[in-house]
Amino acid sequence: MSSSLDKLLENPRVWRGSHQVQRKAGLASGYPELDRCLPGGGWPTEALTEILTEQYGIGELRLLMPALARLSAEDPQSDYSEPGWIAWVAPPFQPYPPALQQCGIDLSRMLIVRPKSSGEILWSAEQALSSGTCAAVLFWAEALDDQASRRLQLAAEKGHSWAVAFRPMLARQQPSAAALRLELHSTAQGTRVHIVKSRGGRPTVLTKLL
C-alpha cells in the first residue's frame, strides 16, 4: 500500500506544496512585512518577477528601490568583482537620476535601453539578463506570452540576474512562468500589494506597505 503511494509520489507530474526545491536566500526588499511573506525572505533573484499595475507611477518603483540600491552598491554574490548594472528596458517615462541617487542608487551603473518594438523589448531584456553583467533588468512589456516569460526566466537563471517585468493589469489572466507575481492596486489609503503567485510561498495581500 505504502509502496504504491511512494511510486505515485515519485511521479514528476505530482507537485507537492510541502516539498520545496532548494530555497535560495532572497534579496531583502527593504520592507520587512513583504520579506516575511516571500519564500527565502526577499525578492527571488535569478528568476522572473512580474508586477502588474493598473497604471504606472503608483509606487511600483518605490517598492523596488531599496533592493536596487543594495544591488548597485555591492555585488552580494562575490566579493571581488565589480557590482552589477541595472538595466531599464523601455521605461514608460524617464527614470529621474537625482531621485534615483536620493534612493541610494549608484548612477554610474544604470543602463537605459529604449527599443522601438515589443519584439526588441524582449530581445533586449533577454540579452541583458543572459549577459551576466546586469544584477537586475527591469522591463516594461505589454505583450509577454507564456513562452517568452519562460525564455526570460531561463535567461535570468543563466545570467544570475533578477528580471522584473512591469505589465498592465490585463495580463493577470495570462499564464506566466514568473517565480513571483504581484499586483499593485492604488487606493486612497495607499497602495495595496497582492502576492498572486509565489513559487514556494502563498498568496497574500499586504495593505499598508507603501
Binding site: 517615462f93 527599443p115 549577459s131
Partner: protein
C-alpha cells in the same frame, strides 16, 4: 684614419680593405672620434629572414584552376615568363612565345604580367608578416626581409618561427624559398640560390656564401657574362680577385655589395609600414543578393581587417561597410562598438545582429570595408579563476559588449547611461551619456538630499486642466501635500524658468509632482510621478 664602426669585428676587416676602395665610398663619412667607450658598444646580433618568391608573377594573379602562364613583352614578342605546374607538364616553358605555348596547350590561360598586382601581393604579404617581426622590409620586387633576432624568444625559437612563416606562406598560396643569415644581402643571396639554410653566426656566413653561383646575386647579365668568361663562377672566385682591379673594371658598387653581404659593411634597410587605416574591397564576378554569401564576404574582409590591426597592436571603434550596386549609389552600413576592438569574431557577431535589418535596394557587385580611426588597443586583464568555479560562472560578456550588441540592433540613441549635472532646473539636472564614448563616472557625487524629486519624470511637462484655480488630474481635483518649492533660475539662457513646484496626490493615492508657472499663474503642469 679614424672611423666609427659598429663592432670591433667589422673595424678589423675594414682596415684590411685597400685604401682605393675605401676612398671610392662616397657615402661613408669619417665620423668624429669621441669617447672610445661609445665607439665600441656590444654588437647587436641581427638575424635576417629572407623570403624569395620566384613564382610571384603567377601567384599574384592566380584566379582559376585552369593551366595558366604569365607572359611578358620582350622585344615586341609576348614570351612566357612563368608557367604553372599544369602548363609545364604540357610542355610550356619559360621563354616560349605565346603562340608556341598556345599550340602546345590550347586551353592555356595567358595573362599579361602586372607589376602593380605583384607589388600589391607583396605588400599584403608584408602586412601579414608584420605579426612576426617589427621590422619587415620589401627588399626587391620579389624579396621580403624580416629581422627576426628580436622575435625568436616570443615564438619559441628559430624552428617554430620558421615553420609558422613557411606554413602561412603556403596557406596564402605562395611558394617561397627561405634562408636565414646575419646580413640581409647574405640571406637574400642564399634564398635566391635555393639554399634552405640557417646561419646564425657571422663566421659561418663567409663559408656558406663562398659556394654560391654568381647567378644568385642578381647582377646585370653583362657583368655575369664577362666574369664567367674570366672563369669566375662563384662568390669565392670573386673574392679572390684583387679588389682594386675589380673596382676599376666593374665599379665599386658590386664590391660594396659583397662587403655588405659578408657583414664587413653595415647594411641599413627601411622598415615597411602599412597604411594605418584599413580599406579593402572585395569584388564579385557577378551581382548577387544572396545574404549568406555577402555575410561570408564581410567575414573575409573582417579577418583581413583583424590581421591588419593585430600587426599594429591597434583597435578601432567604428567600421563602415559599403555595398556597391551596378546602378545607383552604394548602400552604407556603419557599425560601432564600445571598446576599441579588432576581433573579427566580435565584429561579425555585431554585423549579424544588424544584418537582418539591412535593406539592399539592388543586387551587390562589390563590398568595401573601411575602418574608422584606429587607436592603441588596451588589453583587458582577466581575473584569476580562483573563486569563479564554485558559485558564479564567468561573465559571458562585459557591459561594453552588452551595450554594443544592443546598439547594433536598436541604434545608438536608444541605449545610454546617465549622469548628474549641477543644475537647479529639473530637466537639466541630468544628461544621457553615450556608452560608446568613455563613461566618466558621475561628476556630482551628492545631490541635495532634502529636495524631493520624483522617480518618474515626464519627457515634457503635461498641461493639467484646472477647475477654479485647482489642478485636475484624470478629472479629479488634486490635493496639494507639500510645497511650494520655488525654482526661478536659468535667466542667462533662452530656457529660464520661474515655477512653483508642489507634491500633490490624487484620489487614487498616486503622488504627482506638479508646478505652476509664475508668469501665467492659471496654468498647472504635471512634471513627474513619485512612482
Amino acid at each position: 684614419m679614424s672611423r666609427a664602426w659598429k663592432s670591433p669585428a667589422t673595424a678589423r676587416d675594414a682596415t684590411s680593405t685597400p685604401l682605393a676602395v675605401q676612398q671610392a665610398l662616397p657615402f661613408v663619412e669619417p665620423a668624429p672620434l669621441v669617447n672610445p667607450l661609445v665607439l665600441t658598444p656590444t654588437p647587436v646580433q641581427r638575424l635576417w629572414f629572407c623570403i624569395w618568391l620566384p613564382g610571384l608573377p603567377l601567384e599574384a594573379s592566380r584566379s582559376s584552376d585552369d593551366a595558366m602562364a604569365i607572359v611578358e613583352e620582350q622585344q615586341g614578342i609576348h614570351r612566357v615568363l612563368l608557367a604553372d605546374a599544369k602548363a609545364q607538364s604540357a610542355g610550356v616553358m619559360a621563354g616560349q612565345s605565346a603562340n608556341a605555348a598556345l599550340a602546345l596547350l590550347p586551353t592555356l590561360q595567358l595573362e599579361e604580367r602586372s607589376l602593380q598586382r605583384e607589388q600589391q601581393a607583396l605588400e599584403a604579404l608584408a602586412t601579414w608578416l608584420e605579426r612576426f617581426s617589427s621590422f619587415v622590409c620589401i627588399a626587391d620586387r620579389d624579396v621580403l626581409l624580416l629581422e627576426i633576432a628580436g622575435s625568436l624568444r616570443l615564438f619559441g625559437g628559430l624552428r617554430p618561427l620558421r615553420e609558422k612563416i613557411s606554413n602561412g606562406l603556403r596557406q596564402h598560396g605562395f611558394d617561397a624559398s627561405l634562408a636565414i643569415a646575419p646580413t640581409p644581402l647574405g640571406a637574400t643571396w642564399l634564398a635566391r640560390a635555393g639554399r634552405r639554410v640557417c646561419i646564425r653566426d657571422e663566421r659561418n656566413l663567409k663559408r656558406a656564401l663562398r659556394l654560391l653561383p654568381l647567378a644568385s646575386l642578381n647582377w646585370p647579365e653583362g657583368l655575369c657574362a664577362s666574369l664567367t668568361g674570366m672563369g669566375v663562377t662563384t662568390i669565392s672566385d670573386c673574392l679572390r680577385l684583387p679588389r682594386e682591379g675589380f673596382v676599376r673594371r666593374f665599379g665599386a658598387e658590386h664590391m660594396l655589395e659583397l662587403d655588405r653581404a659578408l657583414g664587413h659593411l653595415p647594411d641599413p634597410r627601411n622598415s615597411w609600414r602599412a597604411p594605418e587605416r584599413f580599406c579593402a574591397d572585395c569584388e564579385m564576378a557577378e551581382e548577387t543578393s544572396d545574404r549568406e554569401l555577402l555575410l561570408n564576404i564581410c567575414r573575409e574582409l573582417l579577418l583581413s581587417h583583424e590581421q591588419f590591426l593585430l600587426a599594429r597592436q591597434l583597435g578601432t571603434q567604428r567600421l563602415c561597410f559599403s555595398f556597391f550596386h551596378l546602378k545607383g549609389p552604394a548602400t552604407e552600413f556603419h557599425l560601432g562598438c564600445a571598446r576599441a576592438d579588432r576581433s573579427a569574431e566580435r565584429w561579425l557577431e555585431l554585423l549579424r545582429i544588424r544584418f537582418d535589418q539591412l535593406v539592399l535596394p539592388r543586387p551587390v557587385i562589390a563590398t568595401r570595408l573601411q575602418s574608422g580611426m584606429t587607436q592603441a588597443l588596451q588589453a583587458e586583464s582577466a581575473c584569476l579563476n580562483f573563486h569563479t568555479a564554485n558559485d558564479r560562472p564567468a561573465r559571458r560578456y562585459s557591459i561594453a559588449q552588452l551595450a554594443e550588441r544592443l546598439i547594433a540592433r536598436i541604434g545608438e540613441q536608444s541605449v545610454h547611461s546617465m549622469t548628474l549635472i549641477a543644475e537647479h532646473r529639473p530637466q537639466y539636472a541630468w544628461r544621457a551619456q553615450s556608452l560608446l564614448s568613455d563613461w566618466a563616472s558621475s561628476t556630482l557625487s551628492e545631490f541635495r538630499r532634502h529636495l524631493r524629486r520624483p522617480l518618474w519624470m515626464l519627457p515634457e511637462p503635461a498641461l493639467l486642466p484646472a477647475d477654479s484655480g485647482y489642478p485636475l488630474h484624470q478629472g479629479e481635483r488634486l490635493r496639494l501635500l507639500e510645497g511650494p518649492e520655488r525654482l526661478e533660475t536659468g535667466w542667462w539662457d533662452e530656457d529660464g524658468i520661474s515655477r512653483d513646484y508642489y507634491t500633490a496626490v490624487n484620489l487614487a493615492g498616486i503622488r504627482l509632482w506638479i508646478f505652476r508657472n509664475r508668469s501665467r499663474p492659471s496654468c498647472w503642469y504635471l512634471h513627474g510621478y513619485f512612482g
